[in-house]
Amino acid sequence: MNFVRFALRRVAEMAATLLGASFVIFGAMYLAPGNPASFLLSGRSASPETLRALNAQYHLDAPFAVRYARWLEQLLHGDFGRSITYRTDVSRLLADRLPATLLLVFMALVLVLVGGLVLGRIGAVRGGAVDSTILITTALAVGTPSFVAAVLLQGLFALRLHWFPAGGTGDGLGQLLWHLTLPALALALYLIGMLARVTRGAMLDVLGQEHVTVALSRGVPKRRVIGRHVFRNALGTVLTTGGLIVSTLLVCTVLVESAFGVGGIGQLLELSITTKDFPTVQAISLIMVGLFMAVNLVVDLLHPLVDPRVTYGSGRSIG
């Protein structure tokens, strides 16, 4: 029904924006001083084999539009080109490194959701000294960049107290989870503060609304009013931060993975930039933008489920 049409329209819009993003990502290389070949090689000795590979990948002798179209076509076949530094397919590099990053982002996301929602809810409901403490702590968290959190957590819990490993990923899933705990915490800290403040503010807004008093006046227990009316109604506002949360998590993996030496795509992006491995940079940028937009799409599709006043098609709340 309505939902299908709305979903199709949003997917089409997302595809259009993704196309625009791919153009920006591909075009960025042409903004660089010098010709693309010299930029791509950037001082490396160009063996005939490398030059041929570059030519095959970027069709450097063809006009820009043709090159862009071919690059897109390759993307659609899952071909992200060849890494200049690693001399392998970028898709293979990604396949090796994406799982660690996704696990890290997932762990951080769980921390953000649990920590942010719980702290925000406690702050709004308890009030008083508890609320003030939460307000001050979250203000500090919101001012702490992920790389600062990474360095401090690493210094304290890994290097000084030796509770956690200082870096790397270890072998096996258990070890991996163990190694990713501190990075996930560093990644999540800022967002826990942000989400807690958003949740608290949204819940205080709802607490001030009359239907809460009405529910209490009808003998509905306070605990249930807080859960089913206040918290539930605040979720709509909380959901709108979903895109921001995921995009921040993805981008900050660059910093956190570098600080902890986690071999994910974040660290790969940092390495590729320092080594000017542009095909890899393009691929990772595109993946990050794509993931971010996919999350936004899910948020948009979920919103009417959380708030029946938002109808598919209008796309915005009237409340």
């Binding site: 924006t17 993704l18 625009g20 993003a21 920006v24 990502i25 960025a28 290389m29 903004l31 660089a32 930029f39 409901v125 308890r126 009030g127 008083g128 609320d131 003030s132 307000l135 203000a139 500090l140 919101v142 001012g143 702490t144 960049p145 992920s146 790389f147 600062v148 360095v151 401090l152 690493q154 210094g155 290097l159 000084r160 205080l204 607490l207 001030g208 306070k222 807080i226 995009s247 921040t248 993805l250 981008v251 900050c252 660059v254 910093l255 570098s258 600080a259 992006l269 940092e270 590729s272 930039i273 320092t274 000017k276 542009f278 940079v281 940028s285 990050m288 933008v289 971010f292 937009m293």
Partner: protein
């Protein structure tokens, strides 16, 4: 019969957020930071780039109140001089994004029509790029220098300002005084410039103050990665990166101090910006 019932419901009492003392404290902190950055060349006890390897990782002393980092440089001097880069970058981002954002947003909101839809579309495209990612992409193309990341972040922040301005202008345009001024023969441009923009300025400025903190975080992150700020220029983000060696050696001071500087600056700007936004919101109510 008389029944005294304690009826306090602590959970339902609205808590006053960020009281005035905290705001004043943060405003003072911001002022001191700006002063320190401006006066840094005269305040520094030592050359921030002078290397004294023999004293590397030395603790606080009379000549070096905050100690010496792993490369043998005076931490206090680097902090003070680093404040200049660390504050100048975000200032550029905020200034550029606010100016262009207000122009774009006001045009879209005031004129509407095709201009509005074109601007909204391009805004959506920029939204798809997290600011840091766009900056990383640009820096990877242009290499070192503060200009490229500042411009990239300004472009990434522009949609937030322009969207805010657009919605404010749209709301303001509906107010009776606008049509009253138009009826009195003032041109739309005049009304927009002399009434609408001054009226929405406090909200935009409050948002820009908060954006300053975010820009500082992003730029410090870039220089932590070794992007943007040239390697030898003192910068807080870079100092955190350099400090990692010191942390591993067990002398964390030269890493903790720039971390604290970043956190305190961002928190101070956030508190001041939120206080302003709060005040404006209360004025409008």
């Amino acid at each position: 019969m008389t029944a005294v019932v304690p009826l306090r419901r602590p959970g339902f009492a609205r808590i006053r957020t960020a009281g005035a003392p905290l705001y004043l404290l943060c405003l003072t902190a911001v002022t001191l930071l700006v002063l320190a950055a401006l006066l840094a060349p005269w305040l520094v006890p030592a050359d921030p780039n002078a290397v004294d390897l023999g004293n590397a990782l030395a603790g606080p002393s009379v000549g070096h109140p905050f100690g010496i980092d792993a490369s043998g440089r005076d931490t206090l001097s680097r902090l003070l001089v680093g404040a200049r880069t660390s504050l100048l970058g975000p200032l550029g981002v905020v200034a550029f994004s606010t100016l262009t954002g207000v122009v774009v947003g006001a045009l879209a909101g005031w004129r509407g029509g095709w201009l509005d839809s074109v601007l909204s579309r391009s805004t959506e495209l920029v939204f798809a790029f997290p600011g840091m990612l766009l900056a990383i992409l640009i820096v990877s193309v242009y290499g070192e220098g503060l200009m490229a990341p500042v411009l990239a972040l300004a472009v990434a922040y522009l949609p937030y300002v322009s969207r805010l301005t657009r919605s404010l202008v749209l709301a303001e345009r509906e107010r009776p005084y606008v049509s009253a001024s138009l009826v009195q023969g003032q041109s739309g441009f005049q009304v927009c410039l002399r009434h609408v923009l001054p009226n929405i300025a406090p909200v935009v400025l409050a948002q820009s103050t908060i954006n300053f903190g975010y820009a500082l975080i992003d730029l410090a992150g870039l220089s932590f990665l070794g992007l943007g700020v040239p390697a030898l220029t003192p910068d807080w983000g870079r100092m955190v990166f350099d400090g990692q060696t010191a942390v591993q050696e067990g002398y964390p001071l030269s890493a903790i101090l720039p971390c604290a500087a970043i956190v305190l600056t961002v928190v101070a700007f956030n508190v001041v910006g939120e206080h302003w936004a709060d005040r404006v919101a209360r004025r409008d109510r």
